[in-house]
C-alpha cells in the first residue's frame, strides 16, 4: 500500500503505508516535514494536508473536533484534513495528499 505526498517544495513522494497507521504517522515516519506537534491528539492542526479531489469522498467526513482544530490552520480549503485523523486501510491505497502551509 502506498500514499502519494507532495511536500511544500512541490516534490511528490510515494511512501509505503501500513494498515492501521495514521496518515500523519506514515508521513512523519518517512521524514517528511510534518510537525504533528500534539502527537495525534487532534489538538494542534500541525498535520494539515489537502486531499486530492478524487479522494475526498472516499474518506470518512471530519468530525466536529477535527473541524475545530482546522480553525487553527492556515489557508483551509474544502479538501483540508488533519492527517492524524485518517487511519490507513487497504481502501486508501494510492491516497494522494499535499502538505499544507505550516504556521510559523
Amino acid at each position: 500500500m502506498h500514499v502519494r505526498v507532495t511536500d511544500r517544495e512541490g516534490e511528490q513522494r510515494e511512501l509505503e503505508a501500513l494498515e492501521g497507521w495514521r496518515l500523519m504517522e506514515i508521513i512523519r515516519d518517512w521524514g517528511l516535514p510534518i510537525k504533528a506537534e500534539c502527537g495525534g491528539a487532534c489538538a494542534c492542526a500541525t498535520c494539515h494536508v489537502y486531499v486530492a479531489a478524487d479522494w475526498v469522498d472516499k474518506l470518512h467526513p471530519p468530525r466536529e473536533e477535527e473541524l475545530e482544530r482546522l480553525d487553527e490552520a492556515f489557508d483551509v480549503r474544502p479538501n483540508s484534513r488533519l492527517a492524524c485523523q485518517i487511519l490507513f486501510s487497504p481502501e486508501l491505497d494510492g491516497l494522494t495528499v499535499v502538505l499544507a502551509p505550516e504556521l510559523d
Binding site: 506537534e37 500534539c38 502527537g39 491528539a41 492542526a45 473541524l67 475545530e68 487553527e72 492556515f74 504556521l103
Partner: protein, 347 residues
C-alpha cells in the same frame, strides 16, 4: 538590580509540565528546593494546554487519566515540597558564573525575575508555547506596528481599525475587550461556528446585530499597506471570492505552537532542536545544566511522560552532588524510609 532582588536557589526548572513537576518531587526527597519557570499562565505544559480532556493510558498505576488529571495529581504529589512557580514568563538569558566543578548560573526571565542557581533542569518539552504566525506573504514587515499576535496593553489599540482573525476564546475575548475602545472591530473566521465560550459568542453576535462591530466569514490571504503601516487585508471567502477589509491593525489568533526560543542561545549542544543528554544523569554539554523529558535526545530515547519521570529521578541524584558536595547520598525508598516519609508529611 541589587542583590536583594536576586533569588538565590539550588535549582531552577525550566518548564512546569509533567516532567518539571515530577522533578520537584525527586529533588524534594533529596532536600533540594526548586523554582519553576513557565511561559504559560498555568502549570501542566502540553498536558494541560493541548489535551487536558484527552485520556492517557500509559502512566504507570493509572489505567486511564486525563491530561489535566495527571497534572492535578502531580501538583498534589509535590505539595509537601513547596515549589515556587514563576508563571507567564520565559527565561531569556542564562549566563554561567561558576566553574565546571562548582557550577553557578545567572538566569533572567523576560519579566525581570533574576535567579542565581547552582543547577538548571531544562524540562521544556517541545520548547516554549508561542503564538502561531500565519504564513501571509510580507507579514513580517507589519509586525510590531500593525500586526500583533498578543495584546499586552489594550490602550495601544484605542481608536484603531482592528481586524481580529480566529474562532477561539482568544479571538472572541479580544473582540469583546477591544470593541469599546477601537474605532471599529471586525472579527473574521473561516466558518460560522465558533469554538469560544458560548456566552462570548452571544455577546459578539449581539454587537454585530446592533451594528457596533462587523463579523465576516473568510480567511486572510494577503496584506496591503505602506512600510509598517497596514491599510487593508486581502481576504477570501469559502466560495473563493476575494475581498478586502480596510484596517490598520491585524490580530491573528491561530493558537499556540512550540518553539525552542531562547534555549537555542544558552550555549548548549543541540541536535535538531533537541538537547543531547547523557543517560546516566541526563546532564547536557554544560555541567550543571540537565535536560529531561521531550526536549532531550540520546540513543534509544522514547518521547514518553514515563521516560521523563525516570530522567528526573536520575538528574536529581547528580544535582544533589552539586548542591551538597560534601554530603553522602544514601539511596532510600519512600515505602520504608522514615526520613523520606517525614519529608512527605506522612510519618
Amino acid at each position: 538590580m541589587t542583590n536583594d532582588n536576586i533569588i538565590t536557589t539550588d535549582v531552577v526548572i525550566v518548564g512546569a509540565g509533567p516532567c518539571g513537576l515530577f522533578a520537584v518531587f525527586e529533588l524534594g526527597l533529596l532536600d533540594i528546593k526548586a523554582h519553576l519557570v513557565d511561559i504559560l499562565p498555568k502549570v501542566g505544559g502540553q498536558c494541560a494546554e493541548l489535551y487536558p480532556e484527552k485520556p492517557i493510558y500509559d502512566i504507570p498505576g493509572f489505567p486511564i487519566v486525563t491530561g489535566q488529571g495527571l497534572v492535578d495529581n502531580l501538583v498534589e504529589q509535590i505539595r509537601p515540597f513547596g515549589p515556587t512557580f514563576h508563571l507567564n514568563q520565559m527565561i531569556e538569558a542564562l549566563e554561567p558564573i561558576g566553574t565546571a566543578d562548582a557550577p553557578r548560573f545567572r538566569v533572567t526571565t523576560d519579566a525581570g525575575t533574576v535567579f542565581e542557581t547552582k543547577t538548571v533542569i531544562v524540562a521544556a518539552g517541545g520548547g516554549s508555547f508561542q503564538p502561531k504566525k500565519p504564513p501571509i506573504p510580507g507579514i513580517e514587515a507589519y509586525e510590531g506596528n500593525s500586526v500583533f499576535y498578543a495584546v499586552r496593553k489594550m490602550e495601544a489599540f484605542r481608536g484603531r481599525d482592528i481586524l481580529i482573525v480566529g474562532g477561539g476564546d482568544s479571538a472572541l475575548d479580544w473582540t469583546l475587550n477591544l470593541q469599546p475602545i477601537a474605532r471599529r472591530v471586525t472579527l473574521m473566521h473561516r466558518r460560522d461556528d465558533f469554538r469560544a465560550a458560548p456566552h462570548s459568542v452571544e455577546q459578539m453576535r449581539a454587537l454585530v446585530a446592533s451594528g457596533q462591530m462587523d463579523m465576516k466569514l473568510g480567511q486572510v490571504t494577503g496584506l496591503k499597506g505602506e512600510g509598517t503601516a497596514l491599510q487593508a487585508a486581502i481576504c477570501r471567502d469559502s466560495d473563493g471570492q476575494t475581498f478586502e477589509i480596510a484596517c490598520n491593525t491585524l490580530l491573528p489568533f491561530f493558537g499556540l505552537t512550540m518553539k525552542l526560543g531562547p534555549i537555542a542561545d544558552w550555549g548548549l549542544n543541540l541536535n535538531e532542536n533537541l538537547i543531547p543528554a547523557d543517560t546516566e544523569k541526563f546532564e547536557t554539554s554544560t555541567p550543571g545544566i540537565f535536560a529531561i523529558g521531550d526536549i532531550n535526545t540520546y540513543p534509544g530515547k522514547l518521547k514518553l511522560i514515563l521516560s521523563g519521570f525516570h530522567e528526573a529521578a536520575l538528574a536529581a541524584q547528580k544535582v544533589h552532588r552539586y548542591v551538597y558536595p560534601d554530603k553522602r547520598l544514601t539511596f532510600q525508598y519512600t515505602t520504608s524510609s522514615t526520613s523520606l516519609q517525614k519529608k512527605l508529611g506522612v510519618a
